[in-house]
Symmetry: none
Subunit: 422 residues, 2 copies
């Protein structure tokens, strides 16, 4: 029998087509399938419509080895999944006495008589294997058809999850190919997407063409470009060694710009560097409004290196709490490198910390001038090596500029800490 | 020309097929389309694969009036959406000089030269209308084909949203059918989901059965229960009056717990109350690490009422910067109501603000004790009316507890401001 390599997930239910609901089951199913080397190639959401479900299901059957359908297994007329699958595969439906019995006893245990309507849940397409549902009435179904597998699971996550797990364990082992999919992530800071891509592209091409079989994609987020490397391999240690080598090549090409691997965030990277050196950090924030410190303290155990920060939004606060000379603000403006430096120095002295960070800028939408447009942010880092200051021109809306400014400040701290070691 | 009634949304990008990423753009698009009475019948997610995208797109074209594709408009070889759409519709691609010019000047504004790779973003299928992208390089495209409309939008939400909005306004008006779907949201704080549901359920039943035709769903988020009311009507003023009446009924049932309508956030509600009264606020944050102040300053114009905050993570900082007596911390512990009160009073005095907020708690995962488990948070609000303090037991992980604590603090400020007026 041919191994199962690719899958499509189809979520059924009109409520999943409203502006407030997402199909989240597919994330869990994707994870289960990946462990058996099965790649999800497409996902779909279909309402309770016979025609749409038939069209989407038929099309999935022509393209993938496994089709997982979730939802639409309830007892009402709206629940069409069983019907449409049986009809599309040309399998007659029969009432399964075992399922009837299980349904009856489930109701009986709660002192209830089973409504006749629930008998619909005992109708199964010919040849289907029944997957018991410990947390609900709708049984799951496993069908094999023309070298393909079709799986039907109920929609509620607490019913679906244990069923998917037991299915994967019991039926996918041995049916999946011998290979598994492995993934690594390299994260880049301080570069735009296009420039980072230009550096990475030769590697991507090489990895593909050399038959190293590594597939790479790029994901741009504010202040971070993430390269996702993945590979399919039959030998876990060979596969992870090949991925590791690729990660090294790419990291080397980006040098200091490669700030993290896999799920690590910028605040975790900086936190680890601080912790290793037994350093502490304090921030004087203006336009970022506390977000830098909030991100630093998102990391468990950050109390080891964060003691204090001051959000000085007004000029008076900058002078009173951070000791920024009023004349400095008058001469250079609140958003200026001298003021950022004075904020960083001021908070470092007051906190008695190893490092002080000062951020002052214009988050918008108002407050910009031709000279200093919205997005102008001066970031100073004061430390044992002296003071580093830089002005950035950030784009986007208010929250975007706030986030990007904190990312840039964390990145500055990271680079200064790394250079210190050399 | 036939009115546009149904749509399919196709999200393109391999990263959306991993176990960690969902396509959330489709929610926003669904909402925009609903306003023009256009119902989303199916949604799909496709990787960066020419074959899969072609198959899914072709199939969508046979079933719906509008096909919206998101993502895959970047400058790299992975970005296939433009290509596949042009090929499927049989339209040759041409380089658009206006787009080239816009791209060049976008790079020039940032002092950069456009990489050649970005020229791909100026390739457009014949007959396409270009939708400018104020927040990024990839322009959107609008194509009419055989009575159908095909829309291409970039993947990043902050680029997609304004483009979708302007498209809907400028091009869907007049092309859609006569009915519109209208939606209103009522937001509740200080109640759990089940209790809020119990209050709301009789209304939901009444609205449906009375043929008022209002459909209601509940969405639970950290620190907020949102009731979404929607209705389809051909007469906008009749429809919105019916929705408005329902909102009033529900808001009355929840009293003070109903904190916001529609898209308003808790920080906006509090900001408006402060601005109306010409009040200012200052925060002394411990376990929330600056997140409260960051949320307050997410609101444009918040510099009118936020001047200063102090993140006092260590006990030493609480004493030195906020004047919390060391003895108070020794006697009651850093996480205690007396310390929260002293922090609120301390920051209020130092900032000279109308209101001072003090937050101290255990965000976890470490630091909990049997007496004060992880999630214990004391919140004090000091104002012209005296001091209010309350300890909450919050559930969840570190970031969840941080967010929930800031939500509770903002809600306390809101209620105290509302009661002041009575």
């Amino acid at each position: 029998m041919r191994p199962l390599l690719t899958a499509e997930i189809i979520a059924v239910g009109t409520e999943l087509l409203t502006p407030t609901r997402l199909d989240t089951n597919s994330l869990f199913i994707t994870k289960c399938l990946a462990e058996y080397g099965i790649t999800v190639r497409t996902k779909a959401v279909v309402g309770d419509s016979r025609d749409d479900l038939r069209a989407v299901f038929s099309s999935a059957l022509t393209r993938t080895d496994v089709v997982v359908l979730t939802g639409g297994l309830g007892p009402t007329d709206d629940d069409l999944t069983r019907d449409v699958v049986a009809e599309t595969l040309g399998r007659p439906m029969r009432q399964d006495p075992e399922v009837v019995e299980r349904l009856r006893s489930r109701f009986a245990r709660r002192g209830l008589q089973m409504p006749d309507i629930n008998l619909r849940q005992a109708l199964v397409p010919d040849g289907a294997v029944i997957v018991p549902n410990p947390n609900g009435t709708a049984p799951g179904l496993w069908l094999e058809h023309d070298q393909r597998v079709v799986v039907l699971l109920p929609g509620p996550p607490r019913e679906l999850k244990p069923m998917m797990e037991s299915l994967a364990r019991e039926r996918l082992t041995g049916r999946a190919g011998p290979s598994r999919v492995m993934t690594r992530v390299l994260r880049i800071a301080g570069q735009g997407e296009s420039h980072a891509e230009e550096v990475a592209r030769p590697f991507f091409a090489l990895w593909r063409s050399e038959a190293r079989g590594i597939d790479a994609t790029t994901l741009a987020a504010p202040g971070s470009i993430d390269f996702h490397l993945s590979l399919r391999s039959e030998d876990a240690s060979v596969g992870s060694a090949r991925l590791e080598a690729a990660m090294r090549e790419l990291a080397q090409a980006f040098g200091e710009d490669a700030y993290a691997q896999d799920e690590e965030s910028m605040e975790e990277v900086v936190g680890n560097l601080l912790r290793d050196r037994r350093y502490t950090v304090a921030a004087a924030e203006s336009c970022t409004g506390g977000l830098l410190t909030s991100r630093l303290t998102d990391v468990p155990g950050s109390s080891a290196y964060v003691q204090l920060s001051i959000v000085a939004y007004s000029n008076a606060a900058k002078t009173a709490l951070l000791g920024v000379p009023a004349a400095l603000i008058t001469t250079h403006g609140a958003v200026s490198e001298p003021v950022a430096v004075s904020m960083a120095e001021g908070v470092r002295v007051r906190a008695g910390s190893t490092i002080g960070v000062g951020i002052t800028g214009i988050a918008g939408p108002d407050g910009g001038t031709p000279d200093k447009p919205v997005g102008t942010v001066a970031i100073a880092v004061d430390g044992p090596w002296g003071t580093h200051v830089r002005t950035r021109a950030l784009l986007g809306g208010r929250e975007h500029i706030k986030f990007w400014a904190t990312q840039a400040a964390l990145d500055d701290v990271r680079r200064l800490l790394l250079r210190e070691r050399r």
